[in-house]
Symmetry: C2
Subunit: 168 residues, 2 copies
């Protein structure tokens, strides 16, 4: 019998074990361009890991919203680079993570919910669920690593490790 994973507030502090929150409302700024523009500087830094790693910019788009309640039956990780998701449609999306390690620990798995203005940057090796969106045709900007190294591991939970999440 699976258990529900309850949401943790998406703050820089709560998310720190997993990476960075990209949220200007939590961040100070300084002025540039003759004082006309606020720069919310360096809310995340891109880790491109070893060898030929390079930061690239992509868009992920899901034609269909996820259906809730949703079972979390697997997680994935990118061992050699960070991966940032920033919402382009202002819509909430859901973030399921577990600390970096050989395999994800379901006891330490956490659910965070972006309000649609907040992005996240997963640190290298952090276990996370593939993108979960709350509306059809949602789009997120993605900044991650390109390179020759294999950079995606997947882990399928045993039946008794599966949790479920709900939204809203």
């Amino acid at each position: 019998m699976s258990r529900q994973l309850k949401a943790t507030p998406l703050t820089a502090e709560q998310f720190a074990p997993f990476g960075q929150v990209i949220d200007r409302s939590q961040h100070s700024h300084f002025l540039i361009n003759s004082g006309t523009t606020e720069r919310y500087h360096r809310m995340a830094q891109v880790d491109t890991g070893p060898d030929d790693g390079q930061a690239i910019i992509s868009i992920f788009r899901k034609p269909k919203a996820d259906q809730f309640p949703l079972s979390i039956a697997m997680l994935e990780r990118h061992p050699h680079g960070s991966q940032a998701f920033i919402p382009l449609r202002g819509k909430p999306f859901l973030i399921v993570v577990a600390p970096a390690g050989d395999r994800p620990d379901p006891q330490q798995m956490r659910l965070f919910i972006s309000n649609g203005q907040q992005g996240v940057n997963y640190a290298p090796g952090v276990w996370h669920h593939p993108l979960i969106v709350t509306c059809d045709e949602d789009e997120l900007l993605v900044v991650d690593r390109a390179g020759q190294l294999a950079n995606c591991d997947e882990y399928a939970f045993d039946a008794d490790q599966i949790h479920w999440i709900d939204w809203p």
Copy 2:
């Protein structure tokens, strides 16, 4: 007497001398996450240049829209890294560029207009105007270079080199 700079269509081909266009409508995709998600892959790559260059993610916000017609009296460049701008509010923004070189050539200056879905990534050294927005409180995601090297040069045009732009 200054001259008006007329817009060039913002396509990958037209913008190629200056960098990359981040526009999924111009880009193919492949499916990931068990076929649920379209990945518009590597629409831009981040160039972080020499030494300790690192890609970082920031937000630029302008409380006030620019006023048009607008004089283009100066351009700037980042010699050691690319700089990407992706709109977060879906609003058009204006892009003024000139080819990389010791100083910007006003004869080769170009105006591009993003439809609000399109982002751009300036190649290192490409001369460009600071952010120009068409609505109050506009926000754009910025991916650029952090590092110790000085990475911003400005060039002020002589009076007879100044152009103006208009919008809409």
